[in-house]
């Protein structure tokens, strides 16, 4: 079962040097199989750093992370990542972007077509298969990003403020669509954001981090029923959670 365990993780940039900066200290976390967990915190709390380490983009200076008991080292297709920036390859059409992962592993043209058809539909881009990314809006490009990672079939989906640059309406639609995709695939998702409402709406569990150095401040279980609907954003329970978390981030 794909389960990520973070074990006494500490990360210091420039360790041993005169300007050593500890960004994460003594992090112990567990991301259960099939769960949707958000990490929130003010900027500088190291949440993005933590996520990038889970992706294997760089190694922690102390402690370790495991996926199914296997120590995470280097990047791996099992841990897919959606970035805050636009990561859609502009030199490939939407369809080619979607089937990039399978193509890396030598999928046949037929297999690629199948993946392209399935995931352009899933992320709501049917009819845009042959378009160039430059012809798409920011929200649609994000859909390509997400579809591409899903099409690569990772065990864990790491998302680093993927909707940060989108307008409010687009963002809410993307959140609902993401939940739908997650419901169908049941992949473990770790979602970094600074948007509390987004975190509450999406997650089973919210990890609140504090800065200097980054550490886990609080873990909030979100018991709102699923499937989540937009009306829930206005319920008392939702707002109470938001108020509680907001106070923590303000402290």
């Amino acid at each position: 079962m794909p389960e990520i365990v973070v074990d006494k993780l500490t990360h210091t940039f420039g360790k041993g040097g005169p300007e050593a900066l500890t960004v994460l200290e003594n992090i112990d976390l567990k991301f259960e199989d099939g769960s949707f967990t958000s990490i929130v915190g003010t900027s500088g709390c190291g949440k993005s750093t933590l996520l990038k380490m889970m992706a294997g983009l760089f190694d922690p200076s102390d402690g370790r992370m495991t996926l199914d008991g296997e120590v995470i080292k280097g990047t791996d297709r099992r841990r897919g990542m959606v970035f805050q920036q636009d990561a859609v390859f502009p030199w490939m059409t939407v369809a080619k972007n979607i089937s990039y992962g399978p193509r890396l592993r030598g999928a046949s043209v037929a297999e690629q077509r199948e993946v392209e058809a399935k995931w352009t539909e899933m992320v709501g881009l049917k009819g845009f298969e042959e378009r160039w990314p430059r012809e798409l809006s920011g929200g649609m490009r994000k859909r390509v990003d997400i579809g591409r990672v899903y099409a690569n079939d990772p065990d864990v989906l790491l998302m680093d403020e993927p909707f940060g640059a989108l307008d409010a309406q687009t963002k809410e639609r993307m959140q609902s669509d993401l939940l739908e995709a997650w419901r169908q695939s049941k992949k473990t998702v770790v979602f970094v954001t600074h948007d509390l409402e987004e975190a509450i709406f999406l997650s089973d569990k919210i990890i609140v981090m504090s800065a200097r150095p980054g550490h886990v401040h609080h873990i909030e279980e979100v018991t709102l029923p699923r499937p989540r609907t937009d009306e829930m954003r206005l319920t008392d329970e939702f707002i109470q959670i938001k108020r509680r978390l907001w106070a923590m981030l303000e402290h």
Partner: protein, 258 residues
């Protein structure tokens, strides 16, 4: 009506207008009774020289000799530049090894190599092609390296997290992302090839456009000199345009295309 107005104020008509004005001005000057045609040959003389040389076969011979050198030198220089530039730009070890060398050699104008090349290899075809290759390589390699270094990190990270190996990232991400730089490198190299070609042929060549320039100077055939200058300009222009249209086709995905 509107379409005509737009056409008349478009780049094509206005561009032709400026060239036309220069030609008109030149015609007026050379038409004056006190004009010395040995210094400023009238346009009909220049055109006459073109047809004389065309009929004699000398022009085409010179043109082929020059184009052959250009293409060969350009091909060798840019091919090496792309291979070495990619390696230097992508692999840190290669960069540390080779980059200081490139940086040290880069400021030297290629024409400075002419004496040493002549000493080593004589006034041979090889020497001229070598010189053009060096010139093309130097200007192109810098662009290729810059292109590889400017590959956005997020593309590299995205490909890696999808399971791409370092080489796969290089092939499927770095090279296409660097294409705009590489094509610019090709275009600059082409310009460098022409510059170097003419210089090399002026100094030491038994044939070619540069040779015809030199010959024109020696025998005071100013109309021939003028004619060759125009030919060189036209060739370089056509080649650059061809390149641009290739660039446009290759860069169909790019937002910054014209």
């Amino acid at each position: 009506m509107d379409g005509l107005k737009k056409f008349l104020s478009g780049r094509f008509v206005l561009g032709a207008l400026s060239i036309g004005l220069v030609l008109l001005f030149y015609t007026i000057i050379t038409g004056r009774p006190d004009n010395n045609p040995a210094l400023l040959p009238p346009i009909p003389d220049i055109i006459g020289s073109f047809f004389t040389n065309l009929a004699a076969g000398t022009l085409l011979d010179a043109l082929w000799a020059s184009l052959y050198r250009i293409f060969l030198g350009f091909f060798i220089g840019t091919t090496l530049a792309v291979i070495i530039g990619c390696l230097v730009g992508w692999y840190k070890t290669v960069e540390y090894l080779v980059d200081p060398l490139i940086e040290a050699i880069r400021p030297i104008p290629p024409l400075a190599y002419i004496p040493i090349i002549i000493i080593w290899f004589g006034i041979e075809e090889f020497s001229r092609v070598l010189l053009i290759s060096i010139a093309c390589f130097m200007v192109c390699v810098v662009n290729v390296i810059a292109g590889m270094k400017n590959v956005p990190q997020v593309y590299v990270d995205a490909a890696s997290t999808m399971g791409a190996s370092r080489f796969q990232v290089f092939r499927t991400v770095a090279v296409p992302a660097a294409t705009p730089f590489i094509i610019t490198g090709y275009r600059i190299a082409l310009a460098a090839a022409w510059t170097t070609l003419v210089a090399a042929e002026l100094i030491a060549a038994p044939s070619g456009l540069g040779f015809m320039l030199q010959e024109g100077r020696r025998y005071f055939l100013t109309d021939q000199v003028m004619m060759i200058i125009v030919i060189i300009g036209a060739c370089a222009f056509i080649m650059d345009r061809t390149f641009r249209s290739i660039q446009k086709r290759l860069m169909i995905w790019s937002e910054t295309r014209e």
